[in-house]
């Protein structure tokens, strides 16, 4: 057997797994989205937009807002780890900030239910501190709860990447700016963040795509309308066995996710030229 054939033979299992478990189902879903009662047509998409336009917008807004907040929070964490003066505070933060990464989304949903509901821990604490009366308490288990859960869960991941990139920067570039009189905030946003911008973008895009695909958090925190596309897909399949509309919703999610990836590709191409 020639060397080249042997090589192909060695990667065959991996190729087969990708083809059978990823590419094939993807193609079948994509094709399925355009199939209505055995013939091809736009029926599933018409139905999807009639029923779920609000949910599509809701999903985009929630995930975009969460991504923005995650970006700010991870810059803040990375920035403090890089520029913080108090070594004790820095090491406590370094120890604490990663924990949410190891908690599954479903558990995050459960945690947020007990924390954010009308009689949840947050409101109870506020009431016992005399900040509000039990009558004034509101449940945060709506879009705000989803954003809260997403930011809480995804910030550590992006912060880990960003803090790593910040730690590997040439410290002299920071000191040079301090030497010329830049405040810490200016150093963070004018010197550090631009140098880790690519890492930050990659982290945020991965987070965006992850959040687009989370089912448990919207189901546990906000099952009423409007809700996120993942919850709608599950509903179409489980309640109606309607794979056509579910596939159409899936394809729309894919388009949303790919649009972000496209932005990333453009940035990285521009950097290379």
């Amino acid at each position: 057997m020639s060397r080249r054939l042997l090589g192909l033979f060695l990667v065959l299992p991996a190729l087969a797994v990708i083809a059978l478990l990823f590419i094939l189902p993807l193609i079948m879903s994509a094709v399925g989205a355009f199939q209505v009662d055995g013939s091809f047509g736009w029926g599933n998409f018409t139905k999807t937009f009639d029923l779920y336009t609000k949910d599509i917008i809701f999903t985009v807004v929630i995930v975009s807002l969460s991504t923005a907040l995650i970006g700010l929070a991870s810059i803040a964490i990375g920035g403090y780890l890089t520029l913080g003066n108090n070594p004790v505070a820095v090491s406590i933060l370094r120890f604490l900030y990663r924990w949410p990464m190891f908690i599954p989304f479903i558990v995050v949903g459960q945690l947020m239910r007990t924390f954010l509901s009308k009689n949840g821990m947050m409101n109870n604490t506020a009431v016992s501190l005399g900040l509000m009366t039990p009558l004034d308490t509101v449940s945060f288990l709506d879009w705000r709860g989803i954003v809260f859960a997403f930011v809480w869960k995804q910030t550590p991941f992006v912060a880990l990447l960003v803090a790593g990139a910040m730690a590997s920067l040439n410290r002299d570039t920071i000191e040079a700016a301090r030497n010329l009189g830049a405040s810490k905030l200016r150093v963070l946003f004018e010197i550090i963040v631009p140098q880790v911008a690519v890492t930050l973008t990659v982290g945020l895009i991965l987070s965006f795509v992850t959040m687009m695909s989370v089912l448990s958090v919207p189901l546990m925190i906000n099952a009423q309308t409007p809700t996120m596309l993942t919850a709608d897909i599950a509903f179409r399949v489980n309640a109606y066995g309607d794979y056509g509309v579910a596939n159409a919703l899936g394809l729309i999610s894919l388009v949303l996710a790919s649009s972000v990836a496209w932005i990333y590709l453009r940035i990285s191409l521009k950097e290379r030229t």
């Binding site: 040439n170 570039t173 000191e175 040079a176 030497n179 010329l180 009189g181 830049a182 631009p194």
Partner: protein
């Protein structure tokens, strides 16, 4: 020698954990003076510069500029600008943005910044490169951008942390002179850290040699070169040849005893604190004169006898490794001597540096001194 004390350090000490990096540094630098901090790696010269710049707070002592105590001031409140060894240019900014950043921080108008940046770029030979990113510049150009960025804010004191060590050898030679000329023209006070003796000699008004966190000697280039205060300074300034001799002080004359190394001789004390006893004799290869063993000395000095071990031609003269009294030394000559040839190494009195051996005891010679006598010193 100590200038008018524009920048002054009094009793400055710094420690890193348990290690004392700087010990009791007293230094006074005059306005417009160019001072080189010279030393091998780990001697504390960069730490000292960072203490001056305000990146390290000294554990003890005081730093003043023009009478103001700035020991605890932030780096940007000191009227100083630092040029980093790595240049530390911001890769996401253009040359113009790098140079103009300090001005932007000072809230200067955009037109004024553009004007100053163009002026600075023209002065440093960077005209036409303003829109480039640092990644697209050569090493020498980056170095000049770093310099431009520091000078743009018009600092009172320019701090240079081995700014030439990342340049290749040929460019380094010309940048030395450019930098020195620029410093003179601007009349700026400069503190330059380097481990390169020649660089310090060529550029500085005054050289401060650091050893183990202390100032070993400071003075003008010709002072530290021709009158080293210690064996360390002599070796650092190129007098690597070392011979151990015995001598007796006789008033203003120091008489070297004949021994394994040579016939001995006498040299003037010339104000040195020499005492009778064991001495370390140091001299530069280029100061030594290699002659046939029977040639007569034409001027005051000391002759050593040895045997040529090897010879090489570094350019301009022949350099010989000569075995003298169990030690190998280097000596230059205008012609090549063949290996194995017995030779005399003549060292003129003024180029022979003598220091009492730190232990203070004469080099032991069998039968002359009991071993125990040496120890208490």
């Amino acid at each position: 020698m100590s200038g008018d004390g524009f920048l002054q350090l009094r009793g400055v000490a710094s420690r890193y954990g348990q290690t004392r990096v700087l010990k009791d540094i007293d230094l006074s630098i005059g306005k417009g003076e160019f001072v080189a901090l010279l030393g091998s790696s780990g001697c504390g010269k960069t730490t000292l510069l960072r203490v001056i710049a305000g990146f390290i707070e000294p554990s003890d002592g005081q730093v003043t500029v023009d009478g103001r105590d700035i020991t605890r001031h932030q780096p940007d409140k000191r009227g100083m600008a630092l040029v980093f060894q790595s240049y530390a240019l911001w890769p996401h900014m253009t040359v113009a943005q790098n140079i103009g950043y300090g001005l932007k921080l000072r809230g200067i108008s955009r037109e004024e910044i553009t004007r100053r940046v163009l002026e600075m770029a023209a002065m440093l030979g960077l005209a036409g490169l303003e829109e480039r990113k640092p990644a697209n510049l050569s090493g020498g150009q980056r170095q000049r951008v770093a310099l431009g960025r520091a000078l743009a804010i018009d600092p009172e004191i320019l701090l240079l942390d081995e700014p030439l060590s990342n340049l290749d050898a040929r460019i380094r030679l010309s940048v030395r002179h450019e930098l020195r000329a620029l410093q003179k023209r601007l009349g700026i006070t400069a503190v330059h850290v380097t481990h390169d003796r020649e660089e310090a000699m060529v550029m500085a008004d005054r050289i401060v040699i650091l050893d183990g966190g202390r100032i070993a000697q400071q003075g003008s280039p010709e002072e530290v070169y021709n009158r080293p205060a210690s064996s360390f300074v002599a070796a650092f300034m190129g007098a690597e040849n070392l011979l151990e001799l015995d001598g007796v002080r006789d008033g203003e004359i120091f008489v070297l005893q004949p021994g394994a190394a040579g016939e001995g001789g006498s040299v003037p004390v010339a104000g040195r604190a020499l005492e009778s006893g064991a001495v370390e004799a140091r001299f530069r290869p280029e100061a030594a004169r290699l002659t046939d063993i029977d040639a007569a000395a034409s001027q005051p000095g000391v002759r050593f006898f040895g045997e040529v071990m090897s010879v090489s031609y570094p350019g301009g003269h022949w350099r010989h490794a000569v075995k003298v009294g169990g030690r190998e030394i280097m000596a230059d000559a205008d012609r090549a001597f063949t290996p194995g040839q017995p030779v005399a190494v003549f060292v003129p009195a003024e180029t022979l540096f003598l220091f009492n051996t730190p232990s203070g005891a004469p080099v032991s010679r069998p039968g002359l001194l009991p071993e125990a006598v040496k120890i208490p010193a």
